[in-house]
Symmetry: C2
Subunit: 226 residues, 2 copies
């Protein structure tokens, strides 16, 4: 039951958004939740640390069960609510393999996006221009991998084929960040652009759209990616 | 059938070892495989790139099914060989949640170990001594998290409780690297030390022990961690 779920989350956190899309798809829209402020460091509050010693979001409880890592959480939700809402892991083994593979591949995409964004925002690690160029090249290559996955599937599909799966719950938030941060998807990754334009209208995604994206302007971390 | 599986792997790669322990536990010891040389960059060969565009190991085929990411691969193997060998994901949901959570938490442990090791070996990112100290502090905190998980379970157990699971397949190779790289586990993490000493004798782990660990001396990346 939706009321047995409690989610701590932050607006604009891609890992949180993955879980929130999954909750919507599983027909659990009424889940209890608390939006935390990163600026106020509420994710490091005692309330959160008691459930999640890493002090991160998402932090999720389902009754007495605690699952905090976003990928563990979405896999858990699909298992716990099997037969309810959208089937997010196909039963056929070969399809299941592809979904699992794409879910886990979302991590390197996120890491490569972060490497560029952190430099752009505050050059946190004081890296050189050469290193920044290398980070950008690695991110471009990573984006083209995903563009290739869609191209090989023949175009107008979800990331693992004709069905929406957990892999889409995990991938979409990152594609939305590419757009929000100024990358010209239409020009450099037309299949990803079509993917974004189709999925952004999906009810589960609309319902969970990060609230601050709606009111704060887009940013520029990926405007000069190419 | 074991003969339908083909694994490309590298000696000493923790992600490969995870998959190899899992294969042994699932009663698939006879799987076909090819040991690649990182020094010769064989993981970037055309033979591998055709199956895995990331050019990484593990790279695994099961019949026509390709699963390359280590976490996707172990989840897939458990699903594909359910009812055979060791049950590595418990059917009870609460236990399943804990196994999934610990499997995914192995990634931050590996990242924090790498941050220290890369600095130790070649100071790849030319970081400052302050940054190196910070990396070491973060790794110590991470190790203590895992030490705490075992302590909370009351001592002499596997990482999620009394049963060996996929979480152990994923965690053990990293604990072995802590030991190999000179960390004094007995002194700083006695529960992890006991965990290591118990699991290292397990047949699946002995059968898949990285061959070069047996012939090359231990190293020192974590000798001065504390």
């Amino acid at each position: 039951m939706a009321s047995e779920i409690f989610l701590y989350w932050g607006s604009g956190s891609s890992p949180c958004w993955r879980v929130m899309i999954t909750l919507e798809e599983k027909g659990l829209s009424g889940y209890r939740n608390k939006l935390l402020s990163f600026d106020e460091r509420e994710h490091k509050s005692q309330e959160v640390m008691e459930i999640n010693p890493r002090g991160q979001v998402p932090t999720m409880k389902h009754g007495d069960v605690i699952v905090n890592d976003s990928i563990a959480a979405v896999l858990y939700l699909e298992a716990a609510f099997k037969g309810q809402g959208t089937e997010l892991i196909p039963s056929a083994l070969a399809k299941q393999a592809r979904v699992l593979q794409r879910i886990t591949e979302v991590n390197p995409l996120m890491e490569k996006m972060r490497a560029v964004m952190y430099y752009f925002v505050r050059n946190e690690n004081n890296i050189s221009q050469d290193k920044f160029k290398q980070h950008k090249a690695e991110l471009r290559a990573e984006i083209q991998l995903w563009e290739g996955y869609l191209r090989q599937l023949g175009g107008n599909t979800f990331i693992t084929g004709k069905d929406f799966t957990l892999a889409d719950c995990c991938l979409f938030p990152l594609v939305a960040v590419l757009v929000r941060q100024g990358m010209d998807l239409e020009k450099h990754a037309p299949n990803l652009a079509r993917y974004y334009n189709t999925l952004k209208e999906r009810p589960s995604i609309q319902a969970s759209w990060p609230p601050h994206y709606k009111v704060s302007p887009n940013q520029d971390a990926f405007t000069d990616l190419y």
